[in-house]
C-alpha cells in the first residue's frame, strides 16, 4: 500500500526509539500542540528523533490515526509504542514519567 498502509506506518513507528507525527517540522511547527511536543522533547535534551510532517502527506495523516486508533495529531511513539498526544506527554513531563521512559531508551534528560 501507500504511505498510510499499516505496514508502512509500522515501519516508520519502529524506525527510531523516538518518533513524532506532527504538523510542520521541529524547526517550524505549524500548530501549538505540535510545538508543545517539540518543546517538551527539547527540555529533556531529546534532539535526535524522527519527526514526520503529516501536512505533507494526507495518506500518512489518516494512516497514523487508524494505526493508533487516536484521532488527533501530534502523536508520540517511544520504542514503537504509542504514548499519546500533547496532553499526555505534558502530564508525563510534569509527573516525572517521561524521564523514566526516556531512561528505558537509554536517553538521559
Amino acid at each position: 500500500g501507500g504511505s498510510g498502509s499499516r505496514e508502512a506506518v509500522e515501519r516508520l513507528v519502529r524506525a527510531h526509539p523516538v518518533v513524532v507525527f506532527m504538523k510542520g517540522s521541529p524547526a517550524q511547527p505549524l500548530c501549538g500542540f505540535s510545538n508543545a511536543v517539540v518543546q517538551i522533547l527539547r527540555l529533556h535534551g531529546v534532539e535526535d528523533y524522527n519527526a514526520h510532517d503529516v501536512l505533507q502527506d494526507p495518506d500518512l495523516r489518516q494512516g497514523i490515526k487508524d494505526y493508533s486508533n487516536w484521532p488527533t495529531i501530534p502523536q508520540v511513539y517511544l520504542n514503537g509504542e504509542f504514548v499519546g498526544g500533547c496532553d499526555i506527554l505534558l502530564q508525563m513531563h510534569q509527573n516525572g514519567d517521561l524521564v523514566e521512559e526516556l531512561k528505558k531508551l537509554g536517553i538521559r534528560s
Partner: protein, 93 residues
Amino acid sequence: GSGPLASAVRSKLLAALQPTHLEVLDESWRHGGPPGAESHLAVVVVSERFAGLAPLQRHRLVHAALHAELAGPLHALAIVARTPQQWESDPHV
C-alpha cells in the same frame, strides 16, 4: 466556547460521561485559526467514569464520545480528564 460545535461537544460529553464538572473552550485562535473557527477545542471533564483508568484510556473515552466531531470539523482536542476526587484536591488546569 459557545459555537455550534462546542455546544454539540458539550451535550455529547454530558450524555456519555455524566461529568460533575465540564468546560468546553475554543482555542482555535492559538493554533492559527480565526476566532470562532472551532477547529481546536479544549475540554475539562471531571467524571467518576475515569476512576482507575490511565490517561490514555481516559482520553479514549472522550474520543469515543466525540467520534463524529473528530472525524469531521474538529482537528485537535486538548483534554483534561480527572476524577471528582482529583478535581477536588486540585481544581486547576
